[in-house]
């Protein structure tokens, strides 16, 4: 019996390091990548801080897990939606985020952006289309 493909969304609304939710959420995404579902990641509210570039945890002696986001493309996790309004309220723009890319096997392995900046209304629509929403 082949299993149906579901639309999975991992909803990230927390900042990194202050709590572990962001990091343990990412661990779920990595494990989940082996299951061949249609995976989406949403970054909204403080979740947008997870993708800020230049993270350096040497001074707090915690594990810097931000390089792991850059590995997502290799796991075929390529649909990352970042909410525009959440960025703006925090004085951030796409240039403050890590560039995350993947190689598109259907397009001669062209390198493409994994991150799509969407409006709040667009993100609400994308959430609405999901089958399962994981929250952490």
């Amino acid at each position: 019996m082949s299993e149906q493909i579901k639309k999975f969304m991992y909803v990230n609304r927390r900042a990194p390091y202050g709590t572990i939710y962001a990091w343990e959420s990412l661990e779920v995404v990595l494990i989940g990548a082996a299951f061949d579902q249609d995976v989406h990641l949403a970054f909204l509210d403080d979740g947008v801080y997870q993708l800020v570039k230049g993270q350096d945890t040497s001074g707090v002696d915690m594990k810097n897990f931000s390089p792991t986001y850059q590995a997502l493309g290799d796991y075929d996790v390529t649909k990352l939606f970042v909410e525009k309004e959440s960025l703006e309220e925090r004085g951030l723009s796409i240039d403050d985020l890590m560039p995350l890319t993947y190689e598109d096997e259907d397009d001669d392995w062209a390198e493409k952006d994994s991150i799509t900046v969407v409006s709040r209304a667009e993100l609400a629509d994308i959430m609405d289309e999901q089958d399962v929403l994981f929250s952490f």
Binding site: E3, K6, F8, I20, Y21, E24, E27, V28, I31, G32, A34, F35, Q37, V132, L133, F134, S135, F136
Partner: protein, 130 residues
């Protein structure tokens, strides 16, 4: 209908595990199936057998164990989260050289794949957290 439940917080500090318990109980009473309760983050602390709560308060851990026994529930504690927080079964005790095990009756330690599987196989995933 087939439900899966995710619990992100430990006993007593947050109401999340209370709400998850009441939801699970109500779902079973309504004739639904609970295919798995997955304890993640601090939720793994619901699986310790070392609590001694005040006698005039509910016993959160025992309550889960008893509900699991009665309805043959699958209570799964995430192994990675459990290692960070000190929830240990016999296998983990031996593997990691720990001095004791503390997993409560009716709970089992397993991998994150069990949460993904729950998302795939259940018809509804309901998350309780902080």
């Amino acid at each position: 209908m087939k439900f899966a439940i995710q619990v992100n917080e430990g006993p007593y500090q947050h109401q999340a595990t209370d709400s998850a318990y009441q939801f699970t109980k109500a779902a079973l009473e309504a004739g639904h199936e609970i295919m798995r309760v997955f304890f993640y983050h601090d939720g793994v602390n619901n699986g310790t057998n070392l609590t001694t709560p005040p006698q005039d308060d509910r016993n959160i851990v025992n309550r889960w164990s008893e509900l699991a026994k009665k309805h043959d529930l699958d209570l799964v504690v995430c192994v990675a989260a459990a290692q960070r927080r000190g929830i240990v079964d016999e296998g983990e005790m031996q593997r990691n050289g720990k001095s004791a095990e503390n997993i409560a009756d009716g709970f089992r330690i397993s991998g994150l794949g069990q949460l993904i599987e729950a998302g795939i196989q259940s018809e509804r995933l309901v998350v309780f957290g902080d």
